[in-house]
């Protein structure tokens, strides 16, 4: 018998049977004994021909084109190793950093040193699925100032909102410049420390309540309250 075991947007836990019968398995689901089963905690989503789970807790799955914020952990011959919260440490080759081939007399620490925070783009995944980064481009490169915070990577789409509505609202209301790394690290750069603290509070609220509908309006209200408190 083909049937759905939950209704859409119900909270499911790994091991929960979502569907029995012929259907495609979407994100965060797997097939076990002919049934479609959740493999992460999240909200179930039934489409016409597919069952998927919108994960509430998930690590970062690197894809080409993602903007990420990472920390330089090591310098090897001709490449920096950058921790971007993936299972594999990402590599940033010199050619993707200074647009010139590596020469042995080149001082790599002048561009990036160990411990530096860097905004980069994933340009490729190699055959071991190691992310290859690049810092050639506008807004990419070493971070000199700002405030770093984190958000569960699977909730980044909620922070950005539909066509960037949420992040634009945070930008306008707090007056901070926000760089969102797809890996869950967020760089906030405001004129004052209070502005930055306000943005951090809002991001924490998104992290806690990403699964409840009407998030944008609630955040709007929250921002208004925060602003009033300041006065």
């Amino acid at each position: 018998m083909e049937s759905a075991k939950f209704s859409s947007r119900d909270l499911v836990i790994p091991g929960d049977v979502l569907y029995e019968g012929r259907i495609r398995t979407g994100d965060n689901t797997h097939r076990s004994e002919g049934k479609v089963v959740a493999s992460r905690i999240g909200l179930v989503n039934y489409n016409r021909d597919m069952v998927s789970v919108i994960a509430l807790e998930a690590g970062f799955n690197p894809l080409t084109g993602d903007l990420v914020i990472g920390e330089v952990t090591d310098i090897r011959l001709g490449r920096w190793m950058v921790n971007i919260d993936t299972a594999e440490v990402a590599a940033l080759n010199v050619i993707d950093a200074i647009d010139a081939p590596f020469r042995p007399d080149f001082d790599m620490t002048r561009v990036l040193d160990i411990g530096d925070t860097v905004v980069a783009k994933i340009v490729d995944l190699d055959r071991r699925r190691t992310p290859i980064l690049s810092i050639l481009g506008r807004g990419l490169g070493r971070v000199n100032e700002g405030f770093l915070t984190r958000l569960t990577p699977s909730k980044i789409p909620r922070l950005i909102g539909k066509k960037g509505s949420m992040v634009n609202m945070i930008l306008n209301q707090t007056g901070c410049n926000v760089v969102i790394g797809q890996n869950g690290r967020i760089l906030i750069h405001g004129r004052t420390r209070e502005q930055e603290a306000m943005a951090v509070k809002v991001i924490n609220k998104v992290d806690k309540e990403a699964h409840i509908s009407g998030l944008t309006s609630r955040v709007q209200e929250y921002l208004r309250i925060l602003k009033e408190e300041k006065r």
Partner: protein, 251 residues
């Protein structure tokens, strides 16, 4: 005379079984009061805190991340590394904080019990670290650790086939009882810890300490599985609570 002695003994046992005979007043098939909380450590990728009777255990999960030393990484799948550690103040005569043989063994056994539920093949060459710190011990810490570690793994967003629930059963004064505490563990005849995946119906851990006839052993396993199902409900509640509360606050 021997006959008389026998009858008195029999009388005593029947009297015991009628009343709540266990030393802490529980029924034979009753769990200790258990609470689990998920997401308690902000700096860990996933975490959980369990209180199972007087056991108090904190679990943090990190990863999947690059394995060090790298030569121990498996090329085809992730490694699940569990560290079980009892704090010096967790038991009455202070315990040395150095990892003992027992700690190492329980860590290994835990990782074997949890591994079948985790999609390790999704993260080759990496490691998932599970750190269990026993803050207060009262018997059955390995089962409590497995329960908390499972919740912490789900909280870390690691893909899993099912939750792993764990509970011990054993024999005390000739009676099969569930979820032994420290006293029953030491004074009882035997102790059978079981870890179980309820949705898949598979046992992932089965140990025994003591000597039992086969029939009693099967009874113990059946009772322990019953306990695992109860624990599973508590784990599910703990995972849902993290999201449920904020929902209520909103309404």
């Amino acid at each position: 005379m021997s006959k008389a002695k026998k009858t008195t003994k029999k009388k005593r046992t029947t009297k015991k079984s009628k009343a709540k005979t266990r030393y802490d007043g529980r029924k034979a098939n009753e769990l200790r009061p258990t609470t689990i909380e998920s997401g308690v450590l902000p700096n860990a990728d996933g975490s959980a805190y369990i209180e199972m009777g007087r056991n108090k255990i904190l679990v943090g999960v990190f990863g999947p991340r690059e394995m060090h030393p790298r030569r121990f990484a498996k090329p085809n799948e992730a490694t699940l590394r569990c560290r079980y550690h009892m704090s010096p103040f967790s038991v009455d005569p202070r315990r040395s904080p150095a990892p003992s043989r027992r700690d190492v063994e329980i860590g290994m056994v835990m990782s074997w019990a949890i591994q079948p539920a985790v999609f390790l093949e999704k993260y080759p060459r990496s490691v998932i670290d599970v750190y269990c710190e026993v803050l207060e011990a009262d018997g059955g810490t390995r089962t409590a650790c497995i329960n908390a570690a499972t919740v912490a793994l789900v909280d870390a967003g690691i893909p899993m086939r099912d939750l792993v629930s764990s509970c011990a059963a054993g024999v005390m004064d000739g009676k099969v009882v569930l979820d032994l505490g420290d006293y029953e563990d030491k004074e009882g005849e035997a102790d059978v810890p079981v870890a179980y995946m309820p949705k898949l119906g598979k046992i992932t851990l089965l140990q025994m300490d003591g000597v039992l006839p086969v029939k009693t052993f099967t009874e113990c396993v059946d009772l322990a599985i019953e306990g695992c199902l109860q624990v599973n409900e508590i784990q599910r509640e703990a995972l849902k609570k993290k999201y449920g509360i904020s929902e209520e606050a909103e309404e």
